[in-house]
């Protein structure tokens, strides 16, 4: 028996798909949880997101400040770490969540999902399309959710093997180090250009917002701040490079743990036909996995450690997921739906296993319509 077969058998063993009547009740319970939480939103959530915003600002200023003294190694190390933390908080707990519209109810123009811009080379507009729309609507549907391997990696036996994938441990590492760039160009579809389906002019036109945003980011991190440092140009330059790298590796790890652990399922396009609310919820849960850990892990992961809750309720402020997760778990238990969670080390090992395993040929498993 191949290991891919093992994993498929294990999947189907862990969860029994409830029947449609049960799924309707299951969906109604999750809807009720959603309503209860929405009613309770207020001052506490506003204060929380503003504290996160303040944390982004303070860590950035202290981090950048310390890097000016970067010839002194401890200052360089602490400065780089703080700047990395600032970027992580900005991208995850602040940017990712605000761009989802989680704080739109506050009516604060600085925290509006439609206009927020973040400290990363990809534009928020592009993210709103690839992530908020494609990934969240078509989560783990093969051929529709482009986050499945990001078009570079083979992570499931349901993806056809090609000799290209032999090198995937290397691609995965490069992708991790340059994660912000990978995400930034996800929607530009260079493949279409190389296949001749798009002209160079069209390609360039589509790239304009990305080029503008990434130029701004590059000038900020690698020209302006190093120049301000004058003679200490190099430590600041390298510190910014390392901070961006830390952010890339961390976000890569968190995001991959959300959908590529051992037990997550893929779905065929056919599930979309007349998918009910309950079925949609079921797919979100079966396509996502959580990380267990401390409050710090949750904040630093933008509460994507609660990937399941995030996929069920993408427009609810993410710091609420922790308390919601207890109820979601109980509901899943009642309906016999497997709730995939584990510590970071375990979940990420499973991700690495997938990267290594599916770089090698395995029997192609046609996708089965389980939902």
């Amino acid at each position: 028996m191949t290991s891919s077969m093992t994993s498929v058998l294990k999947n189907s063993g862990k969860t029994n798909r409830p029947n449609d009547t049960q799924l309707a009740a299951f969906g109604a319970e999750l809807d009720a949880l959603r309503e209860r939480t929405l009613t309770d939103l207020g001052e506490r959530d506003a204060r929380y997101i503003r504290r996160i915003y303040a944390a982004v600002r303070y860590t950035e200023v202290i981090g950048r400040g310390l890097l000016f003294f970067g010839l002194f190694p401890p200052a360089w190390i602490v400065g780089t770490l703080l700047l990395g933390i600032s970027k992580i908080l900005d991208n995850m707990e602040l940017g990712h969540n605000v761009i989802h519209g989680q704080y739109d109810w506050m009516n604060d123009p600085h925290l509006s999902g439609k206009t927020f811009e973040w400290d990363i080379v990809g534009t928020a507009d592009h993210w709103r399309k690839t992530h908020n729309y494609s990934h969240h609507t078509y989560t783990n549907i093969k051929g529709m959710d482009e986050d499945i391997g990001y078009g570079v990696l083979r992570l499931f036996p349901e993806q056809r093997w090609r000799p290209f994938f032999i090198g995937q441990p290397i691609y995965a590492l490069i992708f991790a180090l340059l994660f912000q760039w990978g995400v930034a160009i996800q929607d530009l579809r260079f493949g279409q250009y190389f296949k001749g389906k798009k002209t160079g002019k069209e390609m360039l036109e589509e790239m304009k917002p990305f080029l503008k945003k990434s130029r701004r980011q590059l000038i900020k991190d690698y020209v302006i701040f190093p120049l301000i440092a004058g003679p200490f140009f190099l430590p600041v330059f390298l510190g910014n490079l390392a901070a961006n790298g830390i952010r890339n590796l961390w976000t890569y790890m968190i995001i991959f743990c959300g959908h590529f652990t051992a037990d997550v399922e893929l779905f065929p396009k056919s599930v979309l036909r007349n998918e009910s609310r309950g079925q949609w919820y079921y797919r979100q849960i079966r396509g996502s996995s959580n990380l267990t850990g401390s409050k710090l892990l949750h904040i630093m992961s933008g509460n994507l450690s609660h990937q399941i809750e995030h996929h069920l309720f993408p427009d609810i402020p993410a710091h609420r997921y922790e308390e919601m997760s207890r109820e979601v778990r109980a509901i899943c238990q009642r309906y016999g739906v497997h709730y995939n969670r584990g510590p970071l080390i375990k979940q990420f090992s499973q991700v690495i296993w997938r990267i290594l395993r599916y770089s090698l040929p395995s029997k192609y498993v046609p996708i089965k319509a389980s939902a």
Partner: protein, 357 residues
Amino acid sequence: MTASQTLKRLVAPLVDPAVYDFWAQKVHPTLSWDRCLARVVERHVEARDTVSLTLKPNGLFTGFQPGQHLNVTVEVNGVRLTRSYSPSDSLHKDGRIRLTIKAIAQGKVSQHLVHSCQIGDVVELGSAYGDMTLPEEPHAWLFVAAGSGITPIMSLLNTLTQKPLQQPASLIYWARTRADLCFSEALHKMTENDPLLKVHTVLTREPNRLENELDGHPRESLFRNLVPDLERRRIYACGPHGFVQSVESLLADKAALFQAEAFSPSPVVTTAGAPVNLFLSKSNISVQIPSGVPLLEALEAEGLKPAYGCRMGICNTCSCQKQLGTTTDTRNGNTFSEPGAVRLCINSANSDLTLEL
């Protein structure tokens, strides 16, 4: 353009207004790159449930004409809410403005401003609007006010009486009881200082009226008695919708000029299916759509193509600002009357709407 404005324009591409505001407000709570913020510096109780707040706006405030209104935005339980209030005084020399606010039952903003707002709190101000302003040349005036409709009129009177009046002016001021009257002291002083100014109060529910207090609703005989030269007066009236309507029907064709402003009634909520008017403010398009139908579907049925994604309330792609009107969330039936972001795919119209599209 001043030097600082030029500098601001030059550096604007490098500045994130949110970041600027964050650090600037560590220095002073009303500093902002592009928002007019004002600090509450004085609080004075005018009448039952009515306070005057004196505000010190930042340099971005563009001023107002007496008689105009300002949009005031406050944060109540984490949510920013906007309402219109009128300054009750002319702009002070030191740039301060005084707003008078009456607490309305169930009014989130007025209740907050009257009962919870503290000295030192910061509010946001919009630019001033309204046409009931004073012309340069002198005229004979009749001001008619009911309830908190007194506030813009008080601003007009304060400005008019800064110099001795050259022509007569009267104020007829309706309130429920004596405890509801605002500015009694200030009005009394004004009439003592200027014999051409007459102030009459009408109390509709006061059990113990004094000799000089009238009662009853607006009627022609009352106006004729108090202002015999009605024909040469310019009339400004301000109050609740019904009040202003009845004054208008009595006086509009009997005076030299009649102008009125009413507190806008809450949007009319219709039954599902009934047509409502939808105005798209960016594209300047008006369409009629059925209420109760998700806005995205309704707009598409009209041949319009707003941006959309999941069509199930997940992705926020179709979200846009609702400027005016009431919508219903089709998933849970909750209604929203505040301006704010709405997702077109899961909200239906409940009244006439204005969307920033």
